[in-house]
C-alpha cells in the first residue's frame, strides 16, 4: 500500500484534483450534498493562486465561469441537481462557444426539492443535454473518492484538449464519503497555453479574439454546427472509457455507474463465491457512452443477460438498450427516493435472472 494515501471526503478530493490541474477559478453557490466543495474552495483555492466567489446564484456562477474560461483560466463550478438545472442555459452557451470548463453535479434526489440523499436522476440531463440545442458535455462518472479527484483532474485536461465543457457526474454518496486517496497520478500541472483564442490584455499586435454563439444566417450557423458535430464524432471515437470487473466469462453482465457500481462489486463477490458468473462493466465516460464495448458483450456467447441497476426510474438503461438492442434480455433494478442499494438488492434478482434469463420480474422493455 502506498504511504501517500490521505483520507478525505469525495467533495474535498474533487477540489484537490482541481488544484492539481491548475484550476484558478471556482465560483459556486451552496447546496447540499456538495457544500464541502464550495467551502473547501473558499478556504484553499487562494493558496493555489486562484480565486473564489460565492456567487449570488447558480446562474451567476456558471456565467462567471464562462468569463473566467474565456479569459483563459481553468475554471470550475459545482452544484447539485436543482442548481444544475439552473445552469443549463449557460452550459449551452459554453458548449457552443467551445469554452473548456468543468462542472460537477453531486446528484441528489429529485425532482423538485426532493431530498439530499444520493440519486441518479440527472443522467439524461447530463448526457442528452438539459439545455437547449444539440450539444454534449464530456461526462465522467467517478465511483470513489480517488476517482473524484482523478476525474476532476482528467476533466480539466479533456475540456482543454477538446475545447468542450466537461461534467463530473457523481452522487451524494461519493461526494459525502471519505476514503483514502493517492494523488501520485495527479501531478501538479500548468494549464495549457490558450493565447490563441483567449480574451486578455495583450491584444497589441495580434488580431482580436471574439467568442460568440450567434450566427444569424442559418447557413453560417450550419457551418458552426458541423464543426461541433465533427468534434463530437472524433470525441466518440477517441475518448470512451469504461472499466471491467470479471467480465471475461460473465453470463450476466451488470452495467452500472456511481455508488450502485460499488454495490455491484460487493454483489459480484458474493455471487462468484456461489459459482455464479457475474461481471461488471462500468462506463466511466457516460458521454461518450461505451456503446460498442457493451455491444460486444451483447454479441458474445457467454453473456446470457444484462442488468442495469440505477437509483432512478430508468435512464442509463436506454443507452444500454441502444447498445444491446434485442441481442440479449435486458433487466432493470431501480431504487427510489434516495434509498441506497444493498448487495442483496442485486444478488436476488441476479440469481433469478441466471436461472431464467427472461425472468419477467426485472425484464425491461421500451414503452
Amino acid at each position: 500500500m502506498s504511504d501517500d494515501r490521505v483520507f478525505m471526503k469525495g467533495n474535498h478530493a474533487a477540489c484537490e484534483g482541481a488544484y492539481r490541474a491548475g484550476c484558478k477559478a471556482y465560483f459556486g453557490y451552496p447546496i447540499t450534498p456538495q457544500n464541502e466543495v464550495t467551502e473547501y474552495m473558499s478556504a484553499h483555492i487562494w493558496e493555489h493562486g486562484g480565486t473564489f466567489i460565492q456567487s449570488e446564484s447558480e446562474i451567476a456562477a456558471i456565467n462567471m465561469i464562462m468569463g473566467a474560461s474565456a479569459a483563459g483560466a481553468r475554471a470550475m463550478t459545482s452544484s447539485s441537481s436543482p442548481g444544475i438545472s439552473l445552469k443549463q442555459e449557460g452550459l449551452s452557451y459554453i458548449a457552443m462557444m467551445e469554452l473548456p470548463m468543468v462542472v460537477m453535479n453531486v446528484v441528489r434526489c429529485g425532482p423538485g426539492l426532493g431530498n439530499i440523499a444520493p440519486h441518479q436522476g440527472d443522467y439524461f440531463q447530463a448526457t442528452k443535454g438539459g439545455g437547449h440545442g444539440d450539444y454534449r458535455l464530456i461526462t465522467l462518472a467517478p465511483n470513489s473518492v480517488q476517482e473524484m479527484a482523478q476525474y476532476v483532474y482528467d476533466a480539466f485536461n479533456l475540456a482543454d484538449k477538446w475545447r468542450n465543457p466537461a461534467m463530473v457526474l457523481t452522487d451524494g454518496t461519493i461526494g459525502q464519503m471519505m476514503e483514502p486517496v493517492d494523488y501520485t497520478s495527479m501531478p501538479w500541472m500548468e494549464p495549457p497555453d490558450k493565447s490563441e483564442w483567449q480574451l486578455d490584455e495583450f491584444q497589441d499586435g495580434r488580431k482580436r479574439h471574439v467568442l460568440t454563439s450567434i450566427w444569424l444566417d442559418p447557413a453560417d450557423m450550419a457551418v458552426a454546427h458541423e464543426k461541433l458535430i465533427a468534434k463530437y464524432d472524433k470525441l466518440k471515437k477517441e475518448e470512451v472509457r469504461y472499466s471491467e470487473y470479471r467480465t471475461d466469462d460473465a453470463e450476466l453482465l451488470v452495467v452500472a455507474i456511481g455508488s450502485p457500481s460499488r454495490v455491484t462489486h460487493s454483489a459480484i463477490r458474493i455471487l462468484r463465491q456461489e459459482g455464479l458468473k457475474v461481471g461488471l462493466l462500468r462506463p466511466i465516460t457516460v458521454w461518450p457512452f461505451p456503446y460498442s464495448a457493451i455491444r460486444e458483450y451483447a454479441d458474445s456467447k457467454h453473456v446470457k443477460a444484462i442488468l442495469v441497476p440505477e437509483m432512478n426510474w430508468g435512464q442509463m438503461i436506454e443507452d444500454v438498450k441502444l447498445a444491446v438492442l434485442d441481442k440479449k434480455p435486458l433487466h432493470f433494478v431501480p431504487k427510489h427516493g434516495g434509498l441506497t442499494f444493498t448487495p442483496e438488492d442485486l444478488t436476488e434478482p441476479i440469481r433469478a435472472i441466471l436461472e431464467n434469463p427472461d425472468n419477467p420480474d426485472t425484464l425491461w422493455r421500451v414503452s
Binding site: 468569463g67 479569459a71 449557460g90 480574451l199 491584444q203 471574439v210 460568440t212
Partner: protein
C-alpha cells in the same frame, strides 16, 4: 492630430471614426443612439489608450453584435448575465479593462440579480447601460424602464402601474451600494449631452483603471423604430420625457466622496 489633403489643401481631421471601432458600419436603425453610444465609448477608449487591454461583453439586445463594431476582444453572453461574465473574466485578468454593454431588458429585468450583486461586490468593471425604455431587438415589448402610459407591444394600452409596476431606476438603486465607485445617468438627446455622456463614460473607465470599484453609466437613448417616432421626435422624447422620469446626474462619485472625507469639516457660519 490626423491630417488629410483634400484638393490640395491640408486639413486637420477634427471628427472621424475612432480607432477602437472596426470598419463595419453599424447595423442599428437610422437615428438609433446605440451608434452614438458606441462612438463615444470608442473615443474614450482611444483617449485613455486602453484599446488593446479592453474586453467587451456583448449582451443580448439590439447591441448583440456590438462585438462586430468594437475593435478589441469580445464575448457575447446570455441575456442578462453580462456582469457575471465580466466578473469571472476580470478576476482572472485584473489588468484587462472590462466593459459590459447592456440594454434595459438585459440589465434591469432578467439581469437584475447579476447587476446588483456585481455592483455590491464592487467588481472593477465598467457597465454601459443603454436605457431606451423598451425591448428593441425583440420588437418593442415593454421594458422594466418603460414609462407609465407608454404603449408597447406588450402594454398595448400603455403601461399601467397597478398591473405591471413602475419604471425602475437603476442608477438610484445601485448608487447606495458601497461597491459602487461611479454611477451616472446621461442622455443622448443633443450634442451637449452627448459630450457630457462621454465625460461620464471616461470617468467610469477611470474608476476601473484606478481600482475604485464598480462603475456604471446609464445612457438615456432612443428606439425611434419601436417608439414609432421619427428620430427627431424620438430624441425630443428622450429630452423631455425620459429625462423627466429618469433625472440626469452623477449618483455616485467616489472621488468626490474621498475629497469630502479628506476635507476638514467646515465650521458653521
Amino acid at each position: 492630430m490626423d491630417t488629410v489633403t483634400l484638393e490640395g489643401t491640408e486639413y486637420n481631421v477634427l471628427a472621424k471614426r475612432p480607432e477602437s471601432l472596426t470598419d463595419k458600419p453599424f447595423t442599428y436603425c437610422p437615428g438609433c443612439n446605440h451608434g452614438t453610444t458606441h462612438k463615444i465609448i470608442a473615443e474614450v477608449i482611444d483617449e485613455l489608450d486602453i484599446q488593446h487591454r479592453c474586453i467587451g461583453i456583448a449582451s443580448v439586445g439590439c447591441s448583440v453584435f456590438s462585438y462586430e463594431f468594437f475593435d478589441f476582444d469580445f464575448i457575447s453572453v446570455p441575456h442578462g448575465r453580462a456582469l457575471a461574465v465580466a466578473t469571472g473574466a476580470k478576476r482572472m485578468r485584473p489588468n484587462a479593462v472590462l466593459m459590459t454593454y447592456q440594454g434595459d431588458g438585459d440589465l434591469a429585468a432578467i439581469g437584475t440579480a447579476e447587476t446588483i450583486h456585481a455592483c455590491n461586490r464592487g467588481e472593477r468593471v465598467t457597465c454601459i447601460f443603454v436605457n431606451n425604455a423598451i425591448y428593441g431587438m425583440t420588437g418593442g415589448q415593454m421594458a422594466p424602464t418603460t414609462l407609465l402610459g407608454m404603449k408597447t407591444t406588450t402594454s398595448p394600452l400603455g403601461r399601467d402601474a397597478t398591473r405591471i409596476g413602475w419604471p425602475i431606476k437603476m442608477s438610484e438603486m445601485l448608487s447606495p451600494l458601497p461597491g459602487a465607485a461611479y454611477i451616472a445617468r446621461v442622455s443622448m438627446h443633443d450634442a451637449k449631452h452627448i459630450l457630457k455622456a462621454k465625460a461620464a463614460i471616461k470617468k467610469a473607465f477611470r474608476a476601473q483603471l484606478e481600482d475604485k470599484g464598480f462603475s456604471m453609466v446609464e445612457v438615456l437613448s432612443n428606439c425611434n423604430v419601436n417608439w414609432h417616432m421619427t428620430p427627431e421626435d424620438a430624441v425630443k422624447f428622450v429630452k423631455e420625457k425620459m429625462t423627466e422620469n429618469f433625472p440626469l446626474g452623477v449618483y455616485k462619485d467616489v472621488w468626490e466622496e474621498e475629497k469630502a472625507a479628506k476635507q476638514p469639516k467646515k465650521e458653521e457660519g
